[in-house]
Amino acid sequence: MHELSIANELLNVVNENTPPGARVVSLSVQAGAMQAIDADALQFAWQAVTQDDSLEGSRLEVELLPWRLECDQCDRVWESPEAFEPCTCGNVRPKVTGSDELLLVSLDVEQPGEPTESLNHSQA
């Protein structure tokens, strides 16, 4: 359950980057394949750590980034949902070079008094 401790860290980073008085409607996170993050588990953990908090009800969007592979025989670089994928040149052992980022990329915030923009409530 590393998602729970990641959600806790995320809570700090979100609080640090929220303008004073603003309410966070949603936030988006990018997680590289090497982070082995389960999006559902992270969203569930986010609900748990924001309970009874000013961030309660904020929506977490998680973008999972693919594996980054590099072929040292033909210099091809590509991305794949699989860590093990032969190169088109026939090399069965391309190198795994990423991705290992875990980033908070944006916050969607609402200032008090500002009309609510409900553009993005369509996701399940």
Partner: protein
């Protein structure tokens, strides 16, 4: 209103890891982290390594577990410089816990620090502790497919240990497959074999020694 942020989620952990790194460098301590499943033999490997290094260098150890200080008691037979970290519910160590453990170790007198992470080969991969090298431990009894099922830990390892090789004759384990799978993920990582409880840890001890003497050829 959408505001771009682009901040590392584990920023605080990474900052503390940097502090650990600087602190260890200042004392000239080489530091390694052991990651392996519960019961893979992390503590046994540390015990036998301490035995081999006795009289050659001063080693400090920090061991992480959810509960108990059993591992620290075992290590205590080999060195007085041992700290138990109890993580409670935590499935991995973080940089802060290691920093607190480091405060209880005589870093200036030490040459080597070994940190045993909580038994888990998934979660520790995310958390930089600020140490020099990551040791990923697999065992003959877990099956040869464990590396390929856990790419993050294999990709980030600086050395892979295959422990319990004394059991190889009794289990189905294809060392070649194990090695090939690791090579796919991390082509240059050294792979060493040990049988910790039999005291066969030479390959691992030699790897440590080679890291501490960059001039010498391994």
């Amino acid at each position: 209103m959408k505001i771009p942020v682009v901040k590392k989620v584990l920023k605080l952990n990474d900052e503390v890891a940097q502090m650990n790194r600087r602190r260890l460098k200042k004392s000239g301590v080489f530091s390694i982290e052991l990651i392996g499943s519960p019961g893979s033999g992390k503590t046994a490997l540390i015990e036998r390594t301490l035995d081999k290094l006795a009289g050659q260098m001063n080693v400090g150890v920090a061991v992480g577990d959810l509960a108990t200080s059993y591992d620290a008691e075992r290590i205590g037979k080999w060195t007085e410089h041992v700290v138990q970290i109890n993580t409670g519910r935590g499935c991995h160590l973080d940089a802060n816990q290691v920093m607190r453990a480091m405060r209880r170790l005589p870093l200036d007198e030490m040459d080597l620090m070994i940190v045993e992470n909580v038994g888990n080969i998934i979660c520790p991969a995310n958390w930089d502790l600020g140490l020099d090298a990551k040791v990923a431990l697999f065992t003959a009894s877990e099956g040869d497919d464990k590396p390929i099922k856990h790419p993050p830990i294999v990709c980030s390892a600086d050395v892979i240990v295959l422990n319990k090789v004394d059991l190889l004759p009794h289990v189905e384990f294809d060392v070649e497959r194990f090695t090939n799978d690791i090579r796919t993920l991390n082509p240059d990582v050294p792979i060493v074999q040990t049988a910790a409880t039999r005291g066969q840890v030479c390959e691992f001890v030699e790897w440590i020694a080679a890291q501490m003497m960059p001039q010498a050829t391994a």
